[in-house]
């Protein structure tokens, strides 16, 4: 409770939370406000925003309702962000935990693997994944998760290294706990806070990576993604720049809310900041 109070004391956290709740609301009500496929033909193409009350945010060059695509896009972005962040955290935590707990040659091998992933530019690796396995939405989500785990592994490993010789671990060993139980039931809960704080960074980059991929037309074309919409709008940028501008603002606000919430959690949990 004290942590919640600390959290909501900072204006950054309050703004971030309100923004995030708003985006979640938009995502949840997409089917209610705009039932049916958002990618279907809805009206005359290229109507400017705030002109036709039926299409508050206008239509794109294929006559699709931009507001509908925006609402459904919120759902897509949040799901992609959350699932790929979860994948990255699971892979990273397991590799980091094993690496930090056992050390020795296992640690050597796993850390070389982590380095290998860190040397490769994430986005290029994502391109390779899409080129090889195709660009259905499931593949894109998994690929984003798979390229994002190395920092999590490093964080978890560092925590495990500092925790594994503590008394409570020694005590667990003495009463004969198994290694897996020690790792995941005893050490992991103590190692998790920095990882949770880092999750907002992964979430932000995951949403940005997917939208960049969709912008380049390399993500799933059958899904209403904000990046897709920005990419389509590029063709009519000269006159109807709003087609690209509107979904871009949506991406910006979503990533911003994730960063603000992350910063808020970070400040609330960081004891050194409290003194100031």
């Amino acid at each position: 409770m004290a942590i919640l109070k600390d959290y909501f004391r900072s204006p950054i956290a309050r703004v971030g939370t309100i923004l995030l709740l708003l985006i979640i609301f938009i995502a949840l009500t997409a089917d209610w406000f705009f039932p049916g496929n958002p990618l279907r033909l809805a009206g005359r193409p290229l109507q400017w925003p705030f002109v036709n009350p039926k299409f508050i945010l206008g239509t794109d060059q294929a006559g699709r309702n931009i507001a509908a695509q925006l609402f459904h896009g919120a759902k897509v972005s949040l799901i992609i962000g959350l699932v790929s962040t979860l994948i990255a955290i699971i892979i990273g935590v397991v590799i980091g935990a094993i690496s930090g707990f056992y050390s020795g040659w296992i640690d050597d091998i796993l850390m070389r693997l982590t380095e290998a992933f860190q040397i490769l530019p994430n986005f290029l690796l994502l391109l390779v994944g899409v080129a090889v396995f195709g660009s259905t939405i499931n593949i894109v989500i998994i690929a984003i998760g798979v390229v994002s785990w190395p920092p999590v592994a490093r964080l978890t490993r560092a925590e495990f290294l500092s925790l594994r010789n503590r008394e409570f671990v020694q005590a667990g060993k003495t009463i004969g706990m198994s290694s897996t139980r020690l790792m995941f039931k005893e050490i992991l809960p103590n190692a998790l806070p920095p990882v949770i704080m880092y999750a907002s960074v992964i979430l932000s980059t995951a949403i940005l990576m997917e939208s960049a991929l969709a912008f380049l037309n390399l993500s799933d074309p059958n899904i209403s993604s904000w990046g897709n919409l920005v990419g389509n709008g590029r063709l009519v940028l000269r006159q109807q720049w709003y087609v690209s501008a509107i979904p871009g603002i949506a991406i910006l606000l979503t990533v911003l809310s994730a960063s603000l919430v992350g910063q808020g959690i970070n400040d609330a949990l960081n004891p050194r900041l409290k003194k100031r």
């Binding site: 070389r112 693997l113 380095e115 290998a116 860190q118 040397i119 490769l120 530019p121 994430n122 986005f123 290029l124 690796l125 994502l126 391109l127 390779v128 899409v130 080129a131 090889v132 396995f133 195709g134 932000s204 940005l208 939208s211 960049a212 912008f215 380049l216 390399l218 990046g227 920005v230 709008g233 590029r234 940028l237 000269r238 720049w241 690209s244 501008a245 871009g248 991406i251 910006l252 606000l253 990533v255 911003l256 960063s259 603000l260 910063q263 100031r276």
Partner: protein, 325 residues
Amino acid sequence: MLHILTLAFRRLLTTIPALVIILIALFLLLQLAPGDTVDALLAQIGGAESSVIDEMRHHYELDQSTSSRLINYLWRLVHLDLGQSAIYNKPVSHMILERLPATLLLMGCAMLLAFTFGTILGILSAQKVNRWPDTLISILGLIFYSTPSFWLALMGIVVFSIYLNWLPPSGFGSIGESLTGMAAIVDIAWYLILPTTTLALVYLAIYLRIMRASLLEVSTLDFVKTAKAKGLSRRKILVNHILRNAMLPMITLIGLQAGTMLGGSVVIETIFAIPGLGRLAYDSVVQRDLNTLLGVVFVSAILVIIINFIVDMLYAKLDPRITGH
């Protein structure tokens, strides 16, 4: 100096296993891809007789077993032979060498811009900590960090190329005018303003945040108190004592971001039609030219390793404790 070099080389040697893992994994991954080089070629020329197809497969060594091709592949890489691009009908290494300068220029400029302004804004922010300039800079930083670069690039084109008509919307130097010397440099710089700024802004935000945190951290250390007690001016303490120490995390960041920046240049180069490595990667994905894609990824990895090597040396030069023993 020799000591720093040996230290950096030892770090370089530890990256070799990582590089070998990358190469083997990428090669195996590409075996899973639907269609091979010959399929891509056939799609281009519109099909051929089956005897010709078999001959082509033999020519590209696609009829051999995966393991023998892997060994062949690694052996060729040792000689820096990246194979042949099916689509462009040129050696991959030639194409990469052609495309490398544009990417290096773009990355270098963006890195310089982000580093310089990140440092300056970070110092300003830390000097006025928790007052309004600090809040303003921090909010700006958060917004920069959250802005998708491709969207920023498009909006930049709308404002500065379409409405104001100040900057060119795409390209890499004027076509048709054979400029030389200074005129050519100015011309290219003109074309690079928008791409560089849009690529740099995210990194500027990160540098700014790290610089601020690092300055605040270093300011609480004992040697700063000593300097104050000696009666040094605030300016002298900042420039001579705090900055040098606060720079260390910033240098580390350059190495960490080299890879992400290369990834970011894929999008930026595609938007602005800059003939660089990123654009080549994008084209090779679209045209299923996997050999070229693999080459670009390999060269990118080498580039990241080289940048980190330089960063290591810089770091050791700035922080004498590292080479102290």
